[in-house]
Amino acid sequence: MSKPIGILLDPDAARVLMRQGGSEVVRDVAWDPDAPEAMVEALRALVGAPSAFVVIVGLGFLEVAEPELPPLDASARQALLWRDADRYFPIAEPVAVACANGVAMALSATRLDTWLRALRALAPVCAVISSPQAYARVLGTGAAHVAVGVGEIGVVRAEHGMVRSVRRASMPRAGQSSAPEVVTSVSLQDVLRDAPTWREAPLSEQLLDATLSRAMRRDTRRRWATSGVLLVSALALLVAAADHTRSKQLATLQQFVEVLSARAQPAERAETRRSRAQAELAMLAEADARQTAADAPLAVLAQLTRALPRDAFVQRLEFDGQQWRVDGTADNAPRLVPLLDGNARFRDVRIAAPSQRFLDVGRQRESFAISFRMHTADGGARGAP
């Protein structure tokens, strides 16, 4: 979108900046401030259809005052001037006001509305300012002459781009000496070139009447709302597009998986056969290892048979997966523990219950309960914590 163009409305002409043959020139369009439609048609022929206008109202149309206002913010000052315009300006109707640093400039709201209505036929108006404000921004700090009209000259004093004072005076006649004043020369080209920067100026700084200010505020809100809705819509569309794309990708991948699955069926069958065979081989290897392990039940039975003395009688033998326990009777139970402990195949030999002495058919016997573990092939104890 192209930048808005600035149009300076002076009493004698409307002025716009145009690019001609590689250089910029200021073109004057004659106009009647009471009937601006002809000027707009001339502008249409000259600049076509710009994206928007920044309207600069010339000092010749403005009433300038330096009212004593309470310390309020810019919007409240502007509202005060709208309400009490007849106190500060010789205008007996609603006014459009711009206030900067204690300097207030006003013109008839009806007149401004007529101009803006005409200009809107060509392009929307995005900002309305006074020529002293436009000159002050270009000037920075200092003073500059501003065109007012036939026989009059304006002097704008500025500080850091803000209007400090505005004065209108008669043009000195030939031979008449004027008061010496140091002014900086500010070209109209620079002022018009700088005009688009006012596009985002706060409404309280612009030359507006109450109705126009409300309308522009509404426009601004509407633009923001439209932009927000468009942004949300764009994001929603983006997300929906991404969602659709990923769904399509998934569908494509799933189709590919189906094709590959059909193609890989022989390989999958072979893989299943191999996995089953390997699982079974691993289990057989584990079973073989258990069969030959030191704590295999048959091996433990054999070891106990060899290790226990002939007078020992086993009543119960128990294996819980980690530890063995043997209960029984013997002529001399206490000697069984050192006997088993001395055997290299038994580990962690312990007495599991108290021994009792009793007579069995006139023969003295003792009960025993012994727990133990077996040495494994790697030297550790099976079931050891």
Binding site: L253, A264, A267, A270, R274, L281, Q315
Partner: protein, 203 residues
């Protein structure tokens, strides 16, 4: 009495804020969160499908070597005298295990007093390969068995010997041997209880 303009505007702002917050909450609850969940699920499906594709491509490329490896392993297995039980379901596996243990008891001349084969407690062992549902069938399952019987020590030894090295693989988890004091006049009779795990390969 007419309300001041500022109060009316404040009320309007509060109402508007409430409407916006409600709309955002509804949008998040019924729009954004379900969408995010659906998105996450689909991303997981896409990742899964990509992994599956990679697996299947690799598998297809290795068809010949897999066939050869499977044939070799099966040849080695066919030469074994012991085999793991193969069954279509754990119920059938339990039935086969029960029959095997009854036959074993008969052959070892011990009397079975209690034989419990549980199919509900069967445990799956071994992992499954990524993206390969068929290999899940290859993982072993274990059927727990509790077997009590009595007989002479020779019969008990025969049972234990067959469990350790017989034609079916059985893993002894615990064992209790006890002289049967109730059988007066038969001091050599031993009562034993053995808890087993019978590995089963689902078909």
């Amino acid at each position: 009495m007419a309300r001041p303009e500022s109060e009316r505007r404040r009320e309007q702002r509060v109402l508007l804020g409430g409407v916006i917050i409600t709309a955002v909450a509804l949008l998040v609850t019924y729009g954004a969160l379900p969408f995010a969940r659906r998105w996450q699920l689909r991303e997981a499906q896409i990742t899964g499908a990509q992994e599956r594709i990679a697996y299947l491509v690799g598998l297809t490329e290795r068809t010949a070597s897999l066939e050869a490896a499977a044939a070799n392993d099966e040849r080695v297995l066919s030469a074994q005298t012991r085999r793991v039980l193969h069954a279509r379901s754990t119920t059938l596996a339990a039935s086969a295990t029960q029959a095997f243990l009854q036959d074993l008891a008969d052959a070892s001349q011990v009397v079975v007093s209690r034989l419990e084969v549980s199919t509900d407690d069967s445990v799956t062992a071994g992992g499954t390969s990524a993206g390969s549902p068929e290999t899940a069938a290859a993982s072993l399952q274990y059927v727990p068995v509790s077997f009590s019987a009595y007989g002479d020590i020779g019969g008990v030894t025969s049972v234990l010997q067959t469990l350790a090295g017989g034609p079916r693989v059985m893993i002894v988890e615990s064992l209790a041997l006890q002289r049967n004091a109730a059988l007066a006049g038969a001091p050599d009779v031993v009562q034993f209880t053995v808890k087993l795990r019978a590995p089963v390969l689902p078909q």
